[in-house]
């Protein structure tokens, strides 16, 4: 095994603006899809028509309105066209460079060795027109680094393959690696999981309650009021349907040498690719109503995904929207190679914890093995969190006044922002200190053995491209096919 390549970690900021000397955009750089101005501008145009139309209806001057709308459309279209014309992207050394802006030229370089994920999203309008959006997640950025809106579907797929190949440290012309489907979510299970979700049930109960009230006051004048007060229930049901069913429709999780691939979505579709070693933590969750079916869901922390709004973060951080316990356990073992978080021996919280967690304290437990730290908690909403030692960012001990009185302290294992948080709550002080010290040491050792950032580069020097960790039969053919050219 060759040593991990050195990176200058000092400049974690990937965007390096160069106001002093902006190189002219190289000739081979490409433009976005020509329909981009239309797709980006339609919202603006709709707003103009909406506002102007209201005004026109009120004053009755349709002719002037038509002219205004036309003027808006022309101006918007010209601005969009100019922006499209001056936006070009391409590879510059080992970074992706995006130049944009007409008056204020802006040149962004996205360092690919820090690439955390590549997503291809296709909003409904984009699907109709055959274009898609490509997003790069780079750690450190608050939000997605430079979404490329919009690219032709073929271009997006080709660019993704090239990005992944370069990030992996292999030849850029390597075609997309083959994949093996790990899990597909059946539609009936997805529907049932939606129906059994808390928001859906709450919405139904709410509407049913109002319906009963409606029966009692049938003959009075408040019918309209009652009907309109059902609206929150309807909204809750709609939101639950959309969040679980609409977004995770036709959910496919596949595994390839490039990491995990996720495809999902009913109207807007998403294709996510998370390279190996980018998973910062996994949580297995079981809502109360799913327990009868034995279903769980898996969420992951990936650096870059969590920095967005919580809604977006929930959308991008789903590893399995619903699966049986066994299936989820299998996936869990694959994303955290070398360990089985579900069979890690756990130690329970001490008795005084019952004062702070009257119901859940017996369930409160944590454990460690060679690779991960595991935290379990929750009575109604069960939760199991696993964070690889190598991904520990820092370790904190926190002790509040009540905990101090009871002789307890909590240890936080910090990870990148996202839905997964490992908090070893309510341990004895001496134990808490020991956990913190040992976790820091385990993290230090694990970092040295972690998957290198250029996850394929090590195969270039090695004749046998089969690592021990990858049990799939495919192997990484991408690496072997181009080895001769190097």
């Amino acid at each position: 095994m060759t040593s991990t390549p050195e990176h200058e970690s000092g400049d974690a900021g990937q965007r390096r603006a160069k106001p002093a000397r902006v190189d002219p955009t190289p000739e081979h750089f490409r433009r976005l899809h020509p329909l981009t101005p239309l797709l980006r501008g339609w919202g603006f145009l709709a707003l103009a028509i909406g506002l102007g139309g209201q005004d026109a209806l009120r004053s009755g001057e349709m002719g002037r309105f038509g002219l205004t709308a036309l003027a808006f459309a022309v101006v918007g279209m010209i601005a969009g066209l100019l922006s499209w014309w001056f936006t070009r992207y391409g590879f510059d050394g080992d970074a992706l460079r995006i130049d944009s802006g007409m008056l204020n030229r802006r040149s962004r370089r996205v360092r690919l060795d820090r690439l955390q994920a590549v997503d291809i999203n296709r909003p409904l309008a984009g699907r109709l027109l055959g274009v898609s959006e490509l997003r790069l997640e780079v750690a450190g950025g608050g939000k997605a680094e430079a979404p490329l809106q919009y690219l032709a579907v073929d271009d997006a797929v080709r660019l993704r393959a090239e990005l992944l190949a370069r990030a992996a440290g292999i030849d850029a012309d390597t075609p997309e690696a083959p994949e093996r489907v790990v899990h597909e979510v059946p539609l009936d299970r997805l529907m049932w999981s939606t129906v059994l979700s808390g928001a859906f049930v709450a919405g139904v109960v709410f509407i049913a309650g109002i319906g009963v009230a409606f029966l009692f006051f049938r003959d009075s004048d408040i019918t309209i009021g009652l009907l309109s007060s059902m609206l929150p229930g309807v909204i809750a049901i709609g939101a639950a349907l959309w969040a679980q069913l609409g977004r995770n429709f036709a959910f496919v999780l596949a595994e390839s040498p490039d990491g995990y691939r996720i495809r999902k979505g009913l109207l807007d579709t998403q294709h996510q690719t998370v390279p190996p070693g980018r998973v910062q933590g996994v949580a297995m969750r079981q809502p109360l109503l799913w327990r009868g079916k034995g279903w769980v869901r898996l969420d992951v922390d990936v650096a870059g995904y969590g920095g967005e709004s919580s809604d977006d973060s929930q959308r991008t951080s789903t590893l399995l929207p619903v699966a049986t316990y066994e299936e989820a356990a299998e996936v869990l073992r694959q994303v955290l190679p070398g360990s089985d978080p579900l069979s890690v021996p756990l130690t329970h919280a001490p008795r005084p914890a019952r004062w702070l967690r009257p119901f859940g304290w017996k369930k409160l437990a944590y454990g460690v093995d060679e690779h991960v730290v595991v935290v379990r908690e929750g009575v109604l909403y069960r939760n199991l969190t696993a964070v690889p030692h190598a991904k520990t960012q820092s370790v904190r001990i926190v002790q509040g006044p009540v905990q101090r009185r009871l002789g307890l302290a909590s240890v936080h294992v910090d990870t990148t922002p996202g839905p997964v948080d490992a908090v070893i709550a309510h341990r004895r002080p001496e134990e808490a200190r020991a956990i913190a010290e040992e976790q820091a040491e385990r993290a230090r050792l694990a970092r040295k053995a972690d998957v290198p950032e250029q996850w394929m580069a090590r195969y270039r020097q090695q004749p046998a491209p089969r690592p021990d960790g990858h049990a799939d039969g495919d192997g990484p053919p991408a690496a072997s096919s181009e080895r001769d050219q190097e």
């Binding site: 991990t4 980018r278 820092s394 904190r396 006044p401 972690d450």
Partner: protein, 166 residues
């Protein structure tokens, strides 16, 4: 029990490195200014509406807050401490909510040194370590400027030497 508690936040070596005593003076100054401003505004506003009794109540509340703060600040100062180890930095703080943060040098993304106008008058600076997790809570206020610069340089050198990918 009390011994356990002390063990929990015990220094890794001989003793915690403490922050400058001038931090107490700085914080007291800030407290006095804040209380005077807030009390003054509240006193005038309430005095105009409700008359003299309201002013007296405001003055009383402000005085209590001031005394309590003046007493609390040295305690809080004493709770701050940091220790540089071979592979990580330890920072402890807090009286009511006590915290101890262990930050591996290899996990550091960048180091911030900040010094506001008041801090500069006292020759102090604040050093803050950032990792990829926003929850990491490694801030050391009240360092003498020279110590802050030394710490920053040492941390960045160590961070570079031990850097790991995410």
């Amino acid at each position: 029990m009390e011994e356990d508690q002390d063990q929990l936040f015990a220094p890794p070596g001989e003793a915690w490195q403490q922050v400058s005593r001038k931090l107490v003076a700085l914080r007291r100054l800030v407290l006095v200014i804040t209380v005077a401003l807030a009390g003054g505004i509240a006193g005038v506003a309430l005095g105009l509406i409700f008359g003299l009794p309201a002013v007296l109540i405001v003055v009383g509340v402000a005085l209590i807050a001031l005394l309590w703060g003046l007493w609390l600040i040295p305690r809080n100062w004493r709770a701050w401490g940091y220790a540089e180890r071979l592979d990580d930095l330890l920072v402890t703080r807090g009286v009511m909510y006590r915290r101890l943060t262990v930050v591996p040098y290899g996990r550091m993304q960048f180091v911030d040194v900040a010094s506001g106008p008041l801090e500069r008058r006292y020759g102090l600076a604040t050093v803050q370590l950032h990792t990829a997790s926003p929850a990491t809570d490694a801030k050391i206020p009240g360092l003498p400027a020279a110590e802050a610069a030394r710490l920053r340089d040492r941390l960045s050198a160590l961070g570079e030497a031990q850097a790991a990918g995410l």
